[in-house]
């Protein structure tokens, strides 16, 4: 009974994860920044050598400072008390997210760096 439940759970979760990854991993890596259900901005993550992008997102508590560079996207500063969003560090995988619940700011990454080339020929 328990093993059956575990198997069913793993299969369902695994398949859902694959479907989600297929739908969001296509295209170049883009960071989407939301306040609640409103999209504030969408930036393509800079390539190596390109200058970083700074963005200030106005949330319920104040401004959240977001930095996007060749390493990925991170929350540099936040007015929330827990600072969990800042401490979560840099994210760059498709589907990764940074959520600041008190300030109602969400950053989600769509696309992947692996998708930069249409084909590789030797």
């Amino acid at each position: 009974m328990d093993r059956g439940l575990l198997l069913l759970a793993l299969l369902t979760i695994g398949l859902t994860w694959i479907v989600i990854q297929q739908s969001i991993a296509a295209g170049p890596p883009v960071a989407e920044i939301y306040h609640g259900d409103t999209m504030l901005a969408s930036y393509r993550l800079p390539e190596s050598g390109q200058p970083p992008i700074y963005f200030e997102a106005e949330g319920d508590l104040g401004l959240s400072e977001i930095i996007m560079d060749a390493d990925g996207v991170r929350m540099a500063a936040s007015p929330c008390s827990s600072q969990r969003c800042v401490l979560s560090g840099t994210h760059h995988h498709a589907g990764d997210l940074i959520a600041c619940v008190p300030n109602k700011i969400l950053i989600i990454i769509r696309g992947s760096r692996d998708d930069r080339y249409d084909a590789v020929v030797e």
Partner: protein, 177 residues
């Protein structure tokens, strides 16, 4: 008119003492988990849930549900998150998880504590995401992060269930020595 104070039956006092001891243990684990480094948004190993499982086995559904609610309230007081979004998320996750564990323990024949714990862990994580999406962030894209965290919940749920089963069996064995 002087009313005589009746001493409660010993069995009732013992039951209340065990429940309070379990509550203290659950609060301690709740505070300990809050100090651990985060593996992901709203992800914790669920050690305090182990105590809910033991309360469910030893004392029944009502005690288990009450223990979860009191653990979140008192635990949040100690870690300073009372009435913050973290408190709401924790209370929603804990309550839904306890209800799912109670329902599965009663309704699914042949299920062990491992299966109950697994379902509780999955319900806990899902309820937290639904709470965040519906009350705070209002962005369905949030659910993209749910599958990997559910996979981690499967692992921690299984381990906690095995631990709870071992503790329950061991204490039952020792109490008959």
């Amino acid at each position: 008119m002087v009313q005589m104070l009746m001493r409660p039956p010993l069995a009732e006092l013992e039951s209340k003492a065990i429940w309070l001891a379990l509550l203290m243990l659950a609060i301690g684990l709740h505070v300990f988990e809050a100090a651990l480094p985060s593996l992901g948004p709203w992800f914790k190993p669920g050690l305090a849930n182990l105590i809910t499982l033991l309360a469910l086995v030893w004392m029944g559904p009502r005690s288990a549900l009450l223990l979860t609610v009191f653990r979140v309230i008192v635990g949040s007081f100690f870690i300073g998150t009372m009435f913050t979004p973290t408190f709401v998320i924790s209370l929603a996750g804990g309550t839904v998880s306890a209800l799912v564990m109670i329902a599965s323990w009663r309704a699914l024949p042949g299920i062990s504590l491992v299966g109950v714990s697994l379902l509780g862990a999955l319900a806990h994580m899902t309820a937290q995401f639904i709470t965040v999406e519906s009350l705070f962030i209002h962005q369905p894209a949030l659910y993209y992060a749910l599958p990997p965290l559910l996979l981690l919940s499967c692992i921690t749920g299984w381990i906690n269930g095995a631990l709870a089963g071992y503790i329950a069996a061991r204490l039952r064995h020792d109490s008959f020595k």
